[in-house]
């Protein structure tokens, strides 16, 4: 078995530790920035939903500020955002490079996208149900947590799957600031040194991760659709 692999993917087999480290880096970047972005995105998505014109706590100023900020950040290509964020990244985590340095731009690149996804996920919650909840006399907090977030679980799970998969794509670009990870590994060896087997192995690994995420996401959506 080992022999076959040595022949098939010699460049990968010569640096298993580096591949393992790359996988770990990708995992840390996705997990850390993903978890932080999830809560921030959920927060902003909910704020957008309740402050919009027909929202339960309609507030034009708050809505406009968040809405326009999201548009601005979503317009900036991620590779440019990476460099733009450098000073802020250094101020927050103390370094602009490595896995730590990538977390901040990854969050800034993901939160606006995810907030929009949450906003549209919550827009799918039937307005009549919200009206019924108001008629029952529920407080705004109860409407957010018991109705919006509960009724929206399926759509939120769908949006989360989409965003996490998107985030894996972004981590590859974060390799540009020396963040490491599978994408960086593939570029350094597969592209720059023409080690094609490295490219193929990382692609297969990423496909496997994405598939696993998609299947899990679909399962959660299905579990919460009645």
């Amino acid at each position: 078995m080992h022999g076959i692999l040595e022949n098939l993917i010699p460049n990968v087999m010569s640096k298993p530790d580096e591949l393992w480290q790359a996988l770990l880096d990708t995992f840390v970047m996705v997990a850390l920035s993903g978890i932080i972005a999830f809560f921030l995105g959920l927060f902003f998505g909910v704020i957008l939903t309740i402050t919009k014109r027909e929202g339960i706590l309609s507030n034009a100023v708050i809505y406009q500020v968040i809405d326009k900020s999201i548009n601005v950040f979503r317009s900036i290509p991620f590779i440019i955002l990476l460099t733009l964020m450098l000073p802020l990244t250094r101020a927050i985590v103390g370094t602009g490079i490595g896995v730590q340095g990538a977390i901040v731009p990854l969050i800034f690149g993901t939160v606006p996208f995810f907030s929009r996804q949450i906003e549209s996920a919550l827009a799918e919650v039937d307005n009549g149900v919200i009206e019924a909840a108001q008629a029952i006399g529920l407080s705004s907090g109860a409407i957010i947590f018991k109705v919006y977030l509960r009724e929206g679980i399926g759509s939120i799970a769908r949006a989360t799957t989409l965003t996490v998969i998107n985030l894996i794509g972004l981590t590859a670009m974060a390799g540009a600031v020396g963040a490491g990870g599978l994408g960086d590994f593939a570029i350094r060896y597969g592209h720059n040194r023409f080690q094609e087997d490295v490219t193929w192995v990382t692609v297969i690994m990423i496909v496997a991760i994405v598939t696993l995420l998609q299947v899990t996401g679909n399962w959660i959506v299905r579990k919460n659709t009645h």
Binding site: D126, G128, V129, E131, A132, A133, Q134, A135, I136, G137, L138, S139, A142, K146, V147, R150, E151, I153, G154, N224, H226
Partner: protein
């Protein structure tokens, strides 16, 4: 129980403003079933939403059970809303919660223990006759069952008022009947004041005590259901009533020149309507004997509205010219409204 004082509601869209409700004042008494009828766009849904302030009126005051809702803070309003149940055309149940969880929603966060909530939910399920569906999800229920769940949810906090916004409009006639019976039951047994918004006069006829007719945001006619049915004043009210009555199908027959309404010389196609709450007198037999006429009944539609008979009959009155005229006069004397729809006096030219 409910007092609306000069309620107006204006919606501002981009270029135009819509006056959905214009200066409506209504008083709905404790324990009555009050109907508000109108075509879509008449403002009736907006008006009922003004009662629990889902829509805040542009002008006017809303009192429910002596409290002026329009003067309350958001928190105090939430408290008052617990005393006002509401059900909707589209049921508006939470798809992610089971039937029992849906009914429990208004009870959560009110300082009740889990056991108290569970026993109250059980009670409510039994009341709406759905005990076997406790663990089902709304998507597994029929429309009528969903509305029963919505009613149970609305009753959870023991409200004094129940607002029904087109609650039967998405249901078939049989289910509509059973939901209306349930509304009637909770009105009688629990003393809940019920406000029903509908575009179906049949709904009003079946359970309402009083009714208001809305058109273009205004209440154009209001009164006891019996009086409104017996002598509608406005054209729109007459139109609504005719939709529930077979008696108007005679016009279709006349338009089609149906042989059913073909007259011989001297015949009169007559529509009679009972105006007073007494049809025990055998009027038609009496007329027949007295004036030597026959009355060939084409349609008859007598119904019991609010415990009194209402309706009329369409038929062909045949006899001597004098006999026919005397018969019509006799009907009028007995306070029965007559309407000559067609009279055949001339020789038919061939």
């Amino acid at each position: 129980m409910i007092l609306l004082e000069n309620i107006s509601k204006t919606f501002h869209a981009k270029d135009n403003t819509v006056e959905a409700v214009r200066d409506v004042s209504l008083r709905i008494d404790k324990g009555e079933i009050y109907g508000i009828i109108g075509y879509s766009g008449a403002g009736k849904s907006t008006l009922v939403r003004c009662i629990n302030l889902l829509e805040r009126p542009t002008a006017g005051k809303v009192y429910v059970d002596g409290t002026e809702l329009t003067a309350l803070s958001a928190g105090a309003l939430r408290k008052e809303r617990k005393k006002i149940g509401m059900i909707f055309q589209q049921f508006n149940l939470m798809a992610s919660r089971t039937v029992e969880q849906n009914i429990a929603l208004p009870l959560e966060g009110c300082g009740k223990t889990r056991e108290e909530i569970a026993s109250r939910v059980k009670e409510l399920l039994a009341y709406v006759d759905l005990s076997d569906k406790a663990k089902a999800y709304p998507s597994q229920l029929s429309g009528g069952q969903k509305q029963r769940v919505a009613i149970a949810r609305a009753l959870a906090n023991e409200p004094k008022v129940l607002l029904c916004d087109e609650a039967t409009s998405a249901l078939d006639p049989q289910t509509t009947k059973s939901i209306l019976s349930l509304l009637n039951k909770l009105n009688k047994e629990l003393g809940i004041t019920v406000v029903i918004i509908t575009h179906e006069m049949a709904v009003i006829k079946r359970i309402c005590h009083r009714v208001a007719v809305m058109e273009n945001g205004e209440v154009v006619e209001e009164g006891n259901v019996y009086d409104i049915f017996a002598s509608p004043q406005k054209q729109i009210t007459k139109d609504f009533i005719s939709t529930t009555s077979m008696l108007s199908s005679v016009f279709e027959l006349m338009e089609d020149d149906s042989p059913v309404v073909a007259l011989q010389r001297g015949d009169v196609l007559l529509r009679i309507k009972y105006l007073q709450a007494d049809v025990s007198e055998p009027l038609i037999s009496e007329v027949s004997k007295r004036f030597d006429v026959t009355f060939n009944i084409l349609f008859s539609n007598l119904e019991i509205v609010d415990h009194a008979p209402i309706g009329g009959t369409v038929g062909i009155l045949r006899g001597s010219e004098e006999g026919v005229n005397n018969a019509i006069r006799y009907f009028e004397e007995k306070n029965v409204k007559t309407e000559v729809l067609k009279r055949c006096t001339a020789y038919l030219k061939i």
